[in-house]
Amino acid sequence: MGLIDLLFGLKSFTHGIHPPYHKDTAGKPIRRLPFPSQLVLPLNQHIGKPAIPLVRKGREVVRGEPIAKADGHFSVPLHAPATGRVRTIELMPTPRGPKSDAIILDVYEGSTQEVLWKQPREMSDLSAEEIIRAIQETGMVGLGGAAFPSHIKLIIPEGKQVDTLIINGCECEPYLTCDHRIMLEHPKALIQGIHYAMRASGASQAVIGIEDNKMDAVEVLRGNLSKGSPVRVEAVETKYPQGSEKMLIKSLLNREVPAGGLPADVGVVVNNVGTLAGLGHLLPEGRGLIERVITVAGPGIVKPGNYLVPLGTPVRHILQQAGYEGARTEFILGGPMMGPAVSAMDTPLTKGTSGLLVLNEPSIEEESNKIWPCIRCARCVSACPMYLNPSMLGQMAAKRKYEEMAQDYHLNDCFECGCCSYVCPSNIPLVQYFRIAKAINREQAT
């Protein structure tokens, strides 16, 4: 909101950065990958309690069948992405780090892409509670990367009311194009999913926010909306981190989420386009989430593109299919700004993984890895979208004043977008410091 909006009619937020976007795979249609011989399905692919396995060693499962159930309300079930036999349940590496229990599935060689297990349901006469229960049964989580259970997000806390559903089609991370392709190729499912989410949350209008480097998606979605629809499409400025929940609410509605608050505090629920397009597909058919679209890109990939990959596919298999080159490689799950690096090739693809990037040169040159002292240029201050003071926070982190950082400098409002580290001319790993500080504060609190 400001000068840019007045001049060009483009909505945006203040601060933020413009990294090189590298959206080279935007023109590549979504393609399926063949099944790997073995799938690794961690039970904690989502935020919340891990799922409870329903199968034992040796059990045969068909594609789509539930193999783990939700442990209570704050959890989601898991479905078999391929027909095969359960080899075992054991500890396997996960993208989040610590090894955790995973169901290992030997895929039958003749396994087809046909989904053999589904329970179609009539959606038109379901109440809000029934839709939310059905969403939990699909095992859907936020596919943008957070992996937060979708049904929890759509339950509005008591005493609050939601008037607007925001659909996040920004995809502000460099390289990633999977949401872009979903908007282009599955606009009908997306709009269907938006209607379900509106009914579940009680929102009366919906706004799809799309960055202005994806005007083709804006056109396609506008073309698919009927006149008088409560859903509208808005283009927003291409800027990182436009796709962050709080930034997008500010850009589209000019509402500000209070510190430590939720979007529901300002009457908004935000969902990712991939999540809602998935719900549009899965809910009427009564299926579970068994595959997702990821962007495989980066200078080290031979055949970059957008691939529909079964959950649990090991990184190694994706790389074999797409091909990669270069000796000194760095593998990143998700976008380059916030995605974690992978340290094991048998790490499986999980529900929250939106991309696999291979950067074959060291992303920063060896020499510039050195950390120089802060020169107080305040570039980080003018980049921080949350209006924090990363420079001050960084100096306090060096002195281990973690509690003071949270109390006096609003450390907990930092959502680790990495803008401060990106702009720092002294190469100070600010966001890493803040992650450590937040982790230690969390541990001290318990």
Partner: protein
């Protein structure tokens, strides 16, 4: 004219003098009226304490500990930083027993140096275990093991922790004051404060079983249960594929339990010789770091 100046100056001096007298009288009055009795021994004892304010004794600092000493709530030996002479000096001063407190030290539940623990990736970034742990759990294949970037050595205020040439922290039992700083900083939770007389020690946290554990690290506990069978009944149990010693049965431990351990994950800690592995433990002759 000169007289006028002299008068003004005199008045000013008199005024300030009277004001000063009045205010000092108020201070004297306040001092007498608001005076609180404080045991002079507190200052004395505080002087004898090391002024480390580490909190290892369970008090907020050295002065609260001195107060607790005088009220008889604690015994002098509970200060883990003071030397034996200093403790007996305090005990003599107060006329109490110095108390019999077993020295406690920080112990690391990992023996996976870079010559035995396999690395799965190269970590590049902030030289800190905490930062490395955030990036998919660190570069080691064992996601429970020591990362080896020396956060503990850096945080230790008593220089009790040094890194050996395999990238593992070594605790100097003499210097260690059991202040728990290393316990708090370790992202893998490998440090714990243990009384030195607990000599049977499982130096592993790997929750995997058998070959899977040994593939991660050559000195991992494989949960083979030999130590469970060799030790007196109930002393060692296997919990989550890891041997756990029940220290409440402190009269029972002996080096017998370590003898048949195939990897040497369970050790007998000797004051002079350090950790002693069992005779059946696989000998590690390699000295250099394992390749990636």
């Amino acid at each position: 004219m000169d007289i006028e100046i002299a008068q003004n100056v005199t008045i000013a001096i008199l005024f300030m003098g009277v004001l000063g007298l009045l205010l000092s009288a108020m201070l004297v009055f306040a001092d007498k009226k608001l005076w609180v009795f404080e045991d002079p021994r507190i200052d004395e004892i505080e002087g004898m304490l090391p002024a480390a304010n580490c909190g290892a004794c369970g008090n907020a600092g050295c002065r609260p500990f001195a107060e607790a000493l005088i009220s008889g709530k604690v015994s002098p030996a509970q200060c883990t930083v003071s030397s034996a002479e200093a403790i007996s000096e305090i005990a003599d001063y107060l006329g109490v027993e110095s108390g019999d407190v077993v020295k406690r030290v920080a112990r690391l539940a990992c023996a996976g140096g870079n010559h035995v623990a396999r690395q799965r990736a190269r970590y590049e970034g902030l030289e800190s275990c905490r930062a490395a742990a955030v990036v998919s759990g660190g570069p080691k294949r064992c996601s429970w093991g020591c990362i080896g970037l020396a956060d503990c050595a850096e945080v230790c205020e008593f220089d009790a922790i040094t890194m050996d040439h395999h990238g593992l922290p070594v605790v100097d039992a003499v210097q260690c004051t059991a202040c728990e700083d290393c316990v708090d900083i370790c992202p893998k939770g490998l440090f714990s404060i243990q009384p030195v007389d607990r000599r049977l020690w499982v130096a592993c946290k790997n929750l995997e079983h058998g070959d899977a554990a040994e593939n991660d690290c050559e000195v991992a506990c494989t949960a083979c249960e030999r130590c469970v069978k060799d030790a007196p009944e109930g002393l060692i149990t296997i919990q989550d594929n890891l041997a756990v010693v029940d220290y409440s049965k402190n009269g029972l431990p002996s080096p017998v339990a370590t003898e048949r351990c195939p990897t040497g994950a369970i050790v007998w800690l000797d004051d002079d010789l350090g950790p002693i592995k069992g005779v059946k433990a696989k000998r590690i002759v390699r000295n250099e770091a394992l390749p990636l």
